[in-house]
Symmetry: C2
Subunit: 317 residues, 2 copies
């Protein structure tokens, strides 16, 4: 059977930090990112694509806030906002990849799924919500109202001399990708499947009932779980650097071309990677190879095809 | 093989006219609507569900407007807003139906797809956009700006003494449901598929390139096309009345229990049905039986199981 790859696209695959977020920018970025995936398709891989949603769901949350203030439209909870973002992004990726393949005369079907991901309400993350969502900043009166009305949790922060409250939500561990069986079957039949966007829509089981959870699942962690659950051979995490580095952006920065589990865990414990950024990617990459995957790669999408780039994460060096 | 049904849910399946649109209301409506579909599942039907998105995409458009005004977040075009709504609604339906089935110990997979639908830019509808979208009303200066900046089209309207401009978009005929092959395969294998929400995301082919189209496809028309393209046996259009009536809400109102193509076309020509409401449903129902479907039914979801209700639309009486 053809080899199966799961590719997790970073937020910057669609929207870059220095951009405003217009549709033209997002369409162009999407098109370029999809072009970088072409070689996997030409190489005959079965392919599953997951993606981040940071900037998009951020904007959706802000629009929900503004829509309530300006027009009195009830705000939707976080799970609906994540689901909305899977819709918009899943569509953009699907259309972008379709167009890139059409240019090359490649006829493979692409499908985008709305994906729920199960988490546990007993997860330790619920004791200490850390993931910032929504606008910067809420003022005291808004914060008090939202704590009372919606039970939201806020943390006081100071940034560049400005003080305010930010909403935080937990980031629990993904336990099960719902619809994994269908993702696997479709991908094995040659369909390119876009799934588990934004880490998936978090739900928990309460007496056999699925309930929505106000949380954000790390997208690399969810993508790694998906890759394991469908028995993928290779797992690619695309970000904005061509390699993982030790001491990134320090004078003693060092490229890591290959990283095995033992070294990765040592460096993680020593705090050699950025906690909010590279560490979760490395953990996701390790988990994949630990549970049967052949190879994880962390790189940027423009370097994906050129095998000289990228940090390969393996079980044993 | 098991019989296949396509059920098109009306907007009120999720949100009723007299409701504010809170998540609690939408979750409750969804749950109740899904309970009404249970008997089809118990009867062993293969099932595809499509849905409207009027109130939801209306709110998404308003939030986009407010987000730009309040926070300067670029507005997304209509295709992205429709895609977002497929995400949120597809998730709600999937979770709602999962929970209804769990209560009954039924183990069938459910999946929600982001669906693009092809239209033609040569469609007559582009000459006379009629479908109202976005807020009521824009004022003159906004209208002038949006015409200039985005090329939007507005019509001046008066309602209850209030005058203003409403944005209008074309409503072209759906030509092809992308991913229809996968919908058919999944449904035939017993998976319950949620697809073609809100009439689908309108795209057109321009030299083999898919381009987004600022339009809204009638959801009953798209659902009818989907039902035909996947070879469904039965097509159900759920709305807020138990029957189709002649002269609805007039003193001479008459229930139609069975309606064949010839009579339906005669009544349509005579203007016996509401143009913005029942007429497109009847056209969609006729098209289905005309191109090979066995039976179309128009009724409300609470009456779906009780075969005494509903208007059956057939080719010949």
């Amino acid at each position: 059977m053809a080899k199966m790859a799961v590719v997790a696209l970073g937020g910057n695959a669609l929207l870059r930090g220095n951009q405003k977020g217009t549709i033209e920018e997002q369409e162009q970025n999407t098109y370029e990112t999809m072009k970088n995936l072409l070689f996997l398709i030409k190489d005959g891989y079965n392919l599953v694509i997951s993606h981040g949603n940071g900037p998009q769901v951020g904007n959706i949350l802000m629009r929900n806030d503004a829509g309530e203030t300006e027009y009195g439209i009830p705000q939707m909870p976080l799970d609906i906002c994540v689901a909305d973002s899977q819709g918009g992004i899943g569509y953009m990726l699907q259309k972008g990849l379709r167009n890139v393949m059409n240019e090359q005369g490649i006829d493979r079907e692409i499908i985008s799924l709305i994906t729920m991901v199960e988490v546990s309400e007993e997860d330790e993350a619920f004791k200490n919500p850390t993931k910032r969502v929504g606008k910067t900043y809420y003022d005291k009166s808004e914060t008090d109202r939202l704590v009372k009305e919606k039970g939201w949790i806020f943390k006081e922060e100071v940034k560049e001399g400005k003080k305010g409250w930010r909403r935080v939500v937990p980031s629990p561990k993904p336990l099960d990708i719902l619809n994994k069986r269908i993702v696997k079957e479709l991908a094995e039949s040659g369909v390119i499947v876009i799934a588990s966007g934004g880490g998936g829509i978090p739900v928990a089981k309460k007496n056999a009932k699925l309930v929505p959870i106000e949380a954000v699942i790390d997208k690399d962690s969810a993508s790694s779980l998906l890759a394991r659950q469908i028995g993928a051979d290779e797992f690619y995490i695309l970000t904005d650097v061509p390699y993982v580095y030790l001491n990134y952006a320090e004078p003693n920065q060092k490229i890591l071309e290959i990283l095995d589990k033992a070294d990765a865990e040592k460096y993680l414990n020593e705090g050699k990677f950025g906690e909010g950024n590279m560490s979760p990617k490395i953990r996701a990459a390790i988990e994949f190879v630990e549970y049967g995957g052949k190879k994880s790669v962390i790189t940027e999408s423009t370097k994906l095809e050129d095998k000289r780039y990228g940090t390969k994460i393996t079980l044993n060096y």
